[in-house]
């Protein structure tokens, strides 16, 4: 029953320790202010300063901060003022300062300071028992600290929220928040705070009668407390709490042991008489429950004395309540009633509703006449308390829900963003894919076209090689003929002329001395022979000269051979050209391509036209070379059907020569193809077919 006292005590410890840790973390800022504010603060802390003077100083500080022009400096000042709650005693002034602190920090986007400002506000409201608002600001602060990744402070916020939730009996939520706080503190390895968390958990579980778990949490709290450096009397208070747990679980002997341990803690009576008194009272109560009434009364009186001295009203109420119980045990109903009434008054005074409830029941049992009155009171109070609790719980749930919703919303936004970015990625991927696909298709097509061109060029090259060989053979033939002719002339000279001359010489030598008629006749014959030789030499000379000036045209010979080599005996071929023209002087490109075109056309004529007659005519002037090829075949409709490979080849070759060509044909009328090729202009350089 005394647990409420203890809870409150623990809460106070929590709060003070919280202040302690915070102040230690922000001492630097405090000392940093070497200006008037810090002076005023110290001045106001002096014990002899009156309330009015304090207020004056506070207002001065506020005005000073408010008149600062620099935003960040202003924010800084308000933050520290808002934090110095010991200095600012006036609530409305604090609200004002805190409000400024929040707005200025929002303005300069200082999340950490903003979180601290919310924390200050929450703490202030908590002190004023405005639990829901306090909880709200704590949660705001938590959100900020979470955002900036301040694990330690967000753990602190969880812990504060958990303690508020415990106060309104929202045990599950409180436990959950405490565990979150523990998670945070374990990261930062803060033993004192961990101790506080486990302590709170112990209290929580004790309240819902989970004694074993509660004990283990307390032990955990002890473990962390001992690890931390400033133990003070925390250990004693935990042991006290453990004792209460044992007592509530009816393990009185163990409870007594713990309480005695607390009482025997050295210096406790001097340093923390309130805890000492509580332990005494608890020991007495436990002994009473254990039916060991020896020395109980003195314990109670001692405890009450100390508590009265310390003016610890709430605790005093519980002591009187226990004393009354003892009186009942001793069957001293009058004292019991007196003490119970005292407990009632003190409970009312301390606003301790739980104590009030149990006291009402006690009184109802003791004062039979007034019992209905007390029951009625009890019922009313209980109802209102329950209603209040429920309302509070609902409110908190709402706050939490809103926060959750906010978080959920954030998560949703986040996931939406993620989806969007994913979609973006997909689109980029698809676009890249298409781009690459297009690029590769382009490259493939380009490559293929290039290959085709290369193949075409190679084919062309091969063709040109072929015609070169053809013309070379032609040339060889000509050379052979020339050689034979030379041989013939040589033989003619050797055998004919030489022989005859020798004969003439012989005769003239032989008959040199003879002057007979016969000799004279023979001599004149020899002279005649010499004349013959003269003529013969002249004729040979003529022949040689003729053959030297005769044009031997490889080109036209090649074309002639081409036409003559056709296997189809039914086709008569005719080749017209002026033999006086030097056809070989045409550029190699022209000769080769024209030869190819004639070949192509001739093949087509043989294959398709069913002609009996194929005619090729060459004629040229100074800058034009014209070729006309005609047959008397079936012809074809030039406007019908797509161009065949033959026509395309002709086009390509003629284009290469910068020439033009014309096809004249109709069905049944034969076909005539005329080529018109410029001679003097430069042949395109992209061909290397010179023979």
């Amino acid at each position: 029953m005394n647990k409420y006292n203890i809870s409150i005590l623990v809460l106070i410890i929590i709060c003070t320790s919280c202040i302690r840790t915070k102040s230690s973390s922000e001492t630097s800022t405090a000392t940093f202010e070497n200006d008037s504010i810090s002076i005023w603060v110290t001045e106001s802390q002096k014990p002899n300063t009156s309330q009015e003077e304090k207020l004056k100083l506070q207002l001065k500080a506020f005005d000073f901060a408010d008149n600062l022009s620099n935003d960040s400096l202003k924010a800084n000042k308000f933050s520290s003022l808002s934090y110095s709650q010991n200095f600012i005693t006036d609530s409305s002034l604090f609200r004002k300062i805190n409000n400024r602190a929040i707005s200025t920090n929002k303005k300069i986007n200082d999340s950490s300071a903003l979180g601290n400002a919310y924390w200050d506000l929450g703490y202030f409201l908590k002190k004023k028992f405005v639990k829901d608002s306090a909880f709200y600001y704590y949660s705001e602060a938590l959100e900020i600290f979470d955002d900036i990744g301040d694990t330690s402070n967000s753990g602190e916020m969880y812990l504060h929220m958990a303690s508020i939730q415990m106060e309104i009996k929202d045990y599950t939520a409180s436990e959950a928040n405490t565990i979150k706080a523990i998670e945070n503190f374990k990261i930062t390895n803060n033993n004192v705070r961990l101790y506080r968390c486990y302590n709170l958990l112990g209290i929580l579980l004790e309240d819902i009668s989970e004694f074993e778990k509660s004990l283990s949490y307390y032990n955990e709290a002890l473990y962390y407390l001992r690890k931390s450096e400033n133990i003070q009397f925390g250990e004693a208070s935990i042991i006290n709490n453990i004792g209460i747990v044992y007592r509530n679980s009816k393990q009185y002997t163990k409870a007594i042991e713990n309480f005695e341990k607390v009482i025997n803690t050295s210096n406790l009576f001097v340093k923390n008489p309130s805890l000492y008194a509580k332990a005494l009272s608890n020991l007495a109560t436990t002994k009473l429950y254990n039916k060991d009434t020896f020395g109980i009364h003195s314990l109670f009186t001692k405890s009450i004395d100390i508590k009265q001295k310390e003016n610890d009203i709430a605790s005093l109420a519980s002591s009187y309540y226990s004393l009354s119980e003892y009186n009942i045990y001793k069957k001293d109903s009058i004292s019991a009633l007196n003490n119970a009434i005292k407990a009632l008054d003190l409970s009312l005074e301390s606003n301790n509703n739980e104590r009030l409830l149990v006291t009402y029941i006690l009184l109802a049992n003791l004062d039979k006449e007034k019992a209905p009155y007390y029951f009625q009171k009890y019922t009313k109070l209980n109802d209102s308390l329950q209603r209040e609790d429920r309302k509070q719980q609902n409110k908190f749930a709402r706050i939490r829900f809103e926060t959750d919703e906010f978080i959920a919303e954030n998560i949703e936004l986040e996931s939406e963003k993620e989806i969007l970015s994913k979609q973006k990625q997909i689109w980029i991927g698809i676009a890249t894919g298409f781009f690459l696909l297009g690029l590769s298709i382009y490259i493939i097509i380009n490559q293929r076209a290039k290959n085709q061109k290369l193949r075409f060029d190679q084919q062309q090259q091969a063709n040109n090689q072929e015609i070169f060989n053809l013309m070379l053979t032609q040339k060889q033939k000509v050379d052979e003929v020339k050689r034979l002719e030379q041989k013939r002339i040589s033989e003619e000279l050797h055998d004919g002329v030489l022989g005859k001359m020798l004969g003439a010489r012989m005769i003239l030598t032989g008959l040199n001395k003879r002057t007979t008629d016969e000799a004279i006749h023979e001599k004149s014959k020899a002279l005649g022979s010499l004349q013959e030789i003269e003529n013969e030499i002249r004729s040979i000379s003529h022949e040689l000269s003729h053959s030297a000036y005769q044009n031997i045209n490889n080109f036209t010979d090649s074309v002639e051979t081409l036409l003559a080599n056709n296997k189809n005996v039914n086709i008569k071929t005719i080749f017209h050209f002026n033999e006086d023209e030097n056809w070989d002087s045409l550029a190699g490109d022209i000769k080769i391509n024209v030869y190819r075109i004639i070949q192509e056309t001739f093949q087509n004529a043989i294959k398709h036209s069913k002609c009996t007659y194929f005619e090729v005519t060459f004629y040229r002037n100074d800058d034009q070379f014209n070729v006309i090829m005609s047959d008397n075949g079936i012809g074809y409709n030039i406007n019908k059907g797509k161009k065949g490979i033959g026509i395309r080849n002709i086009t390509s070759r003629i284009n290469k020569l910068n020439g033009t060509f014309h096809i004249d044909s109709s069905e049944g009328q034969g076909t005539t193809i005329s080529l018109n090729i410029p001679i003097n202009i430069d042949i395109k350089k992209n061909t290397n077919n010179n023979t």
Binding site: R483, K487, R488, E491, E492, H494, D495, G496, L498, G499, K500, L502, G503, A504, R505, M506, I507, L508, T509, G510, L511, K513, R514, E522, K525, A526, S529
Partner: protein
Amino acid sequence: MNTVRILAVDDHEMTALGYKYILEDSEFADFNVKVEIATSFEKGKTKIETSKRAVPYDIILLDIQLFSPESKDPRTGIDLGIVARNEVPNSKVVFMSSYSDNYRINNIFKTVNPDGYMVKSEIDEMSLKTMVETIVNESPYYTASALSAIRRRMSTNIVIDEQDQKILYHLSQGIHTRDIAPLIGSANTTVEARKRQLKALFDVKNGNDLALINEAKTRGFL
């Protein structure tokens, strides 16, 4: 006084007559000269064959070319020489030819082994007279270029067979290697192989056919 009987065979009548006039007008120490002429292969052959039954000629002068180039008749004075050797072995055979190439001369020496060879451009009164005198004294007679051709051939150690000789000759005539094979009745590859051997033999390195022919000429094979 002895009479040396000579038969001159030449398709050019004037040439034959020229020999006749020159020799008959020449004065020899202890004999007279009587020259008969034949102006064709057939006539020459007949005279040689006839002489066998009567009195053989002391000296037979043979031209090699006895047909005009147009007639394409393959028979030459060489054939007549062979006939003379067979029919009238005691008659001396002297070739009177405008050919002065080694091949032809050596060929003649192989087949007929004549008692004399005169290159027509070197023939004049003196050489004709000397020739007759020399032959009558049972000595062979060669004009200068004929002699040099024979000597060149004899001064080399290189021995090539008839096939090689033919190949060289045809090559020197400007005939293509591939056309030589049918002329000598062997395969193309054989001709190529023999050509390579000849080049190695004549020490013609990296040379073409012209180099080979020139080398063969200087060494007396052509």
